[in-house]
Symmetry: C2
Subunit: 213 residues, 2 copies
């Protein structure tokens, strides 16, 4: 049986039900930990599922921040120091990652509370997550207020990447499964993945072929 919803049906849904529903409608999402610090060197760590690719040259990614929700310390820190780290999550610490979404006071470090380890690399001032295999740092390039619903789009330029060499394929793609990176659906369901296949560049007169990376 198929269930259908109109605009009006969605608007009438109970608030938490609607949040769970709309958050999972778009399919699987990236899930990462964003590490920041402020000028008082208070470290902050928050789980995000709104990371998306914007472009490769310059290397840009976006995140959506809802000022009224938990990652507001993350937002304040990024606006203050313009730098943040993005750290992949594996199945061995996904519960720790989820715990960073609890509403801790500003002066409490989610690293400590969620039992994760801050790590500083080179000249990057924001803390990485030592437990993460794939991690990178961004510099804030642009803040766009989405007046339609009061959220904020932060666009960052990727200024540093750390990746195990066995996760980097010959064509430049990243083997996320080799890094045990997981994915999320909705607000709170975490998943591992299994590759079906990698396909050749699509052209009009042919059919995609499976390729070995």
């Amino acid at each position: 049986m198929i269930k259908e919803f109109t605009s009006e049906d969605i608007e009438k849904l109970e608030k938490l039900y609607r949040a769970a529903f709309v958050n999972s409608l778009g399919g699987f999402k990236s899930v990462v930990l964003i590490g920041t610090t402020n000028s008082q060197k208070h470290e902050n760590l928050a789980v995000f599922s709104s990371l998306f690719h914007i472009g490769a040259n310059p290397a840009l990614c976006g995140i959506i921040v809802r000022p009224s929700e938990v990652p507001r310390h993350t937002l304040n820190n990024i606006l203050e120091l313009k730098q943040y780290t993005i750290n992949h999550i594996t199945d061995s610490f996904y519960v720790n990652a989820h715990q960073t979404s609890a509403r801790y006071d500003e002066n409490i470090s989610e690293f400590k509370e969620a039992k994760l380890t801050p790590e500083y690399i080179d000249s990057i001032t924001a803390p990485f997550v030592k437990e993460s295999k794939i991690k990178f740092a961004c510099q804030l390039e642009q803040k766009i207020d989405l007046e339609i619903n009061g959220t904020i789009l932060l666009i960052g330029k990727i200024i540093y990447v750390s990746i195990p060499d066995n996760c980097l394929m010959t064509d430049g793609s990243v083997n996320l499964e080799a890094a045990k990176t997981i994915t999320v659906s909705g607000l709170n369901s975490y998943h591992t993945t299994k590759k079906i296949g990698s396909l050749s560049y699509a052209k009009p007169a042919t059919w995609p072929k499976e390729i070995n990376l």
Copy 2:
């Protein structure tokens, strides 16, 4: 061994290598087919991996469109008629979905070329993909030009949803695995998923518990 990249290293990468690298750095992504039509009723279908959640009330999602790339017909159609459908992809037609990224001429239907079936539901004027289990329609609410790299953010309001009732959980979340929805990494690698667990709402003084949905 860990491999590190600075900004300068990323800028110096060969173009296709960099595209594969940066596109897969962010982790797993949603992958969907976007169906549109124009005023001449030419149907268009294109695979997108940039869908992201913006808010639940109103129900909003975003996509990033690169005007110079294949989905330009999709962009033109959305700007003309303000409506588009978003259709989940399963492992039974992921090769067909990938084929929609070939550079077809404007008057050619990717539905036909990729062997997928257009489906019209109720008053939605844009075509859905009959083979998709979870599908929804959006009305264009806002177009934001991202001058930083010439891409465009389209924000849509979800105005219709069709979902098998066995995929809708009691809390409103969607069981994407029951719908066989897949995920993508990078430009061309497709993956099924296996749930690790769903976790309770995080609170400071406790530790997340696994919950049954």
